[in-house]
Symmetry: C2
Subunit: 449 residues, 2 copies
C-alpha cells in the first residue's frame, strides 16, 4: 500500500541517472529527486568533438532542469553527494541531507593515471566539459606556438601530438586531430605547415579498438593512417613530462619530444563507489566499481542500486558489461520499470543488456560499426554513426541544432569552435612550458630584446 | 618608391583592427601583421546574449586565422604587446620585438570601477568572453541557490539582481534577464518562482540610454518594466559587497540585499594608451583614451595611428565619437585607404564618421532604433536590429549560423546555452558567498547534520 509518494533519489545526471529519472518520474506513486553537482546532462560520446573544435560545449550539454521540466513529480537538486547512510536511509549532500525510499547511484568514472597522478597536468583526460575545453586550448595553442617557434626542434615539438589509449575515445580524438591538420587548418598559417604534424596514438594491446572485431580494428588503423596518425600498438607510456613522452615497447624505450599529450586511457570509479563499499560492504573491482546483483542492487540492500559506468555487472556473461552509454541507458530504463513494479507488489527478471552494436568514428566520413554480424566501415558507417547519435538526442530537442551545426561544419570543412578561452597567459602556464620565464627563440623578423 | 612591402602592424583584432587589416591586406605593396593576445575576433555587441544563455561563446567569436586565411600578405600573431618604441619603429611583444613601417593600435577599453577595484569581484563586467561566461555562471547559479534556500530572506537575496549602468549594455542585459525570468525559466523550478525575481537597473543620469533621444529612452524604460525590470535613474552605486548593494540618490541612501550584481558602467582605456602617451607625448583624456589628429594619427607621429574605443576623436563635432562598433569599423576602413594612398604619394581628407543609426534591444521582440530622423521602437526595431547584426557578420560566415541559432532560440523560447561551466565549487567561492564555510539553512526535506 502506498500512503504517500515513494521517494526515489538518483545521484548523477548522466545517461544512467537521467534515463532512470525520466522512466520513474511519470510513474504513479513515485516522486524523484535527481541530484548532480553540475546543472546539465553531458553527451559524453561527443566530447572529443568539443576538444577538437568541431562542436561547442553548449551543443552537447543540456540543462537538467529543462530536460525534467515537464515532470511535475521530479525535482532537480544541484549539489554534491558526500555520504550515504543506509541505516537511516539518507544521503548527505553539500546542501544538507536527504531521505530516500530508494537510492540509485550513477556517478560514473573519471580518469586514472595508473598511479602516476603527476602525469595529469601534462596529459589532460576527456571526461568533463572542462577537460574538453582544456584539450581544445592546448591543441590550438600548440599551432600558435609552432607558428612563433624559431628553431626546427621547437616547431617539431609543438607539432607533435601523443594520444595515449587506443580505445574508441583515443581513436576518435586522434582521427579528429588528423582532420584538423590535414584539412581544416590548411592555409591558415604562414610558417608552420599543419599537415606535417605528427600524431602518435599509443595503445598497449596489439591493436586499436581492442573490444571490436579484428577486421574493424584494421579498418580503423587504415583510416587513421590516411589522416596522418601513426599507431603504436603493444606500446605503453612509462613517463610524461612537460615536453617529453617516454614509450616502452617490450624491451625498447623511445623518447618523443611532444608538447601536447592527451590522455584517453585508464578509468577509475567515482569516490561514491568506495563510500558504498564502506557503508554496505558491497564488493568493488580493481577499478573501484561496485559489483552489483542481477537486479543492479547492492548486496543486502534491495533499495540501493548502482548503474552505469560505476557498476560492474557480471551476471550476463561472467564479464563486466562495458562502460558505454547504451548500457547505462538500458539499466536506467530497467530500474524505471523494476522499482515501479515492486512498489505495487510485482517484480522483474534480471537485467539483460541488449547490445545493439558499437560505433567509432574516425575523421569526417570514415567510421567502423559493429552491429550484430555486420561489420561496416567507411562512409556508410559514418552516416549510421551520425543518425544514431542524433536519435539518442531525441527528447532533448538538440537533434536539429546538432544536425545543423554538424552539417554546417561538414559543408564548410572548417572547425569554428576552436576558441582559446582563458587568455594567452594560460600558454605561459608552467605545466605547458615547463618554465615560467621561458621565452621562445625568435626568427629574424622577431628579435629578442 | 616602394622597394619592398610596407609593413603595417596592427595591434588588436576587434572591430577597428580587423577591419583595418582586411582593408589593407589586399592592397599592393603592403603586408600586414595582425596581433592579438586572443586567437579570435569577438562580436562584442552580442556578449550580453552569451551572459544570459541565449548564445554560445563560439557563436559570437571567429578565429582570426580563419578570417584572414585568404589574405596571403597577412600574418596573424598570437601575442601580447607590452611596449612601443617609436624611435626605432618597433613594438615589443610577449614573443619578441617586431619592426613596423606603420603602426595601428586598436586595443580598446576595459571595465572601470571608478576607483573601487574591490567591487570587481562582486560585480563582473562584460567585455570579454570570460566575463560573459562568469556572468552566465552567476545568473544561473543564483536560481539554483534560490531553489535550495530555506529562508525567505535567502531566497529573496538570490532572486534579486542589480545591473549597474543604464547605457545600451546595461539595458540589454537587464532586459535579457527579464526574458529569462518571465519566460524561459518558467516551470523549471519547484520552490522558487523565477517570475518573482527583482531586477534593478541603476543609472546615474535622469534616464536610461542617455545618448538616445528622450522618446526612445522612455520606450526602452516601458519595455523593461514589462519584463519585470525596475529602473532607478538619478541613482549611483556607493558600495558593493558579497550580498549588499548600497545605492545613493540625492540625499537618500538605500541598501539592497542582492547576491548577483552585474557591472555595465564605466570604461577605461587599455594600458597601451598610457604607453603611447609616455612614448610619444600624445595627450590622453580622463578615461585614458588617446586624443588623435584628424587623420587618426598620434601627434607628431604620422605613421602611428590609434582607432576604435582607445581613440578620442573630436575633430568632427568637438566631442569624442562614441565607443561603438560602427566608429571602429569605419576608422579601420578609412586607414585602409589612407595608408595605401600615402604610400603611393596620395592623401585623404580628415576622417568623417557617418552615423547610420543606433540600436538597442530589450528582450525578445522589443528594441529602440535611432536612425537619422526616425525613432523606431517595438517589434519593427527588433527586426531591424536582427538584420543589422547579421549584416555586420557578412564575410565572417557566421550569419547563417547565428540566424539559425537565434531563430531556434526564439522559436523554442528557451535559452539553451546556460551551462554553469567550472563546477559547483565555484558557487562556494568566497567572493560569491562571503564565507567559505557557510552552509545554507535548510528546509524540512533537507536537514542539517
Amino acid at each position: 500500500m502506498i500512503t504517500q509518494h515513494h521517494h526515489v533519489v538518483i545521484v548523477g545526471g548522466g545517461f544512467g541517472g537521467l534515463y532512470a529519472a525520466r522512466a520513474l518520474a511519470d510513474k504513479p506513486g513515485i516522486r524523484v529527486t535527481l541530484i548532480d553537482k553540475r546543472n546539465f546532462h553531458l553527451f559524453q560520446p561527443l566530447l572529443y568533438q568539443v576538444a577538437t573544435g568541431g562542436l561547442s560545449p553548449d551543443d552537447i550539454a543540456y540543462p537538467l532542469r529543462a530536460v525534467m521540466r515537464h515532470y511535475r513529480n521530479a525535482n532537480v537538486l544541484n549539489a554534491e553527494v558526500t555520504d550515504i547512510l543506509p541505516e537511516t536511509q539518507e544521503i548527505v549532500t553539500s546542501s544538507g541531507s536527504l531521505s530516500f525510499d530508494t537510492l540509485i547511484v550513477a556517478t560514473g568514472v573519471s580518469h586514472f593515471y595508473f598511479g602516476h597522478d603527476e602525469w595529469e597536468q601534462y596529459a589532460p583526460g576527456l571526461k568533463t566539459l572542462e577537460d574538453a575545453l582544456e584539450m581544445r586550448r592546448r591543441i590550438f595553442q600548440a599551432f600558435e606556438e609552432a607558428e612563433k617557434a624559431t628553431s626546427q626542434d621547437e616547431r617539431k615539438a609543438w607539432t607533435t601530438f601523443v594520444v595515449v589509449g587506443g580505445g574508441p575515445t583515443g581513436v576518435e580524438l586522434a582521427g579528429a586531430i588528423g582532420e584538423l591538420t590535414q584539412n581544416t587548418l590548411k592555409g591558415e598559417f604562414r610558417r608552420v605547415d599543419p599537415s606535417m604534424t605528427q600524431i602518435l596514438l599509443v595503445e598497449g594491446a596489439d591493436r586499436v579498438l581492442p573490444p571490436y572485431p579484428a577486421d574493424l580494428s584494421a579498418a580503423a588503423a587504415a583510416d587513421l593512417y590516411r589522416l596522418g596518425v601513426t599507431v603504436r600498438t603493444g606500446t605503453l607510456v612509462s613517463n610524461i613530462d612537460a615536453d617529453l613522452v617516454t614509450l616502452k615497447s617490450g624491451e625498447d624505450t623511445e623518447q618523443i619530444r611532444a608538447r601536447t599529450v592527451l590522455w584517453a586511457a585508464g578509468m577509475r570509479a567515482s569516490s561514491l563507489g568506495r563510500i558504498i563499499h564502506e557503508r554496505t560492504g558491497a564488493p568493488l573491482d580493481r577499478a573501484g566499481r561496485v559489483i552489483v546483483e542481477s537486479d543492479l542492487s547492492v548486496a543486502g540492500h534491495s533499495n540501493i542500486f548502482v548503474i552505469g559506468d560505476l557498476a560492474n555487472y557480471q551476471h550476463q556473461n561472467g564479464k563486466p558489461l562495458p562502460g558505454v552509454a547504451q548500457v547505462a541507458m538500458q539499466q536506467g530504463e530497467y530500474l524505471g520499470e523494476l522499482i515501479s513494479l515492486r512498489i505495487h507488489g510485482g517484480n522483474k527478471s534480471s537485467f539483460y543488456y541488449n547490445d545493439k552494436g558499437n560505433l567509432a568514428v574516425i575523421g569526417r566520413n570514415a567510421a567502423v560499426a559493429d552491429i550484430g554480424r555486420l561489420h561496416i566501415n567507411g562512409y556508410i558507417a559514418w552516416v549510421i554513426w551520425l543518425f544514431v547519435h542524433i536519435a539518442y538526442l531525441i527528447g532533448f530537442e538538440r537533434k536539429l541544432q546538432v544536425m545543423i551545426q554538424w552539417s554546417w561544419s561538414y559543408l564548410t570543412r572548417r572547425h569554428n569552435s576552436r576558441l582559446i578561452v582563458g587568455g594567452l597567459q594560460a600558454a605561459s602556464n608552467p605545466t605547458l612550458n615547463g618554465r615560467t620565464d621561458e621565452r621562445l627563440m625568435i626568427e629574424p623578423t622577431l628579435r629578442e630584446r
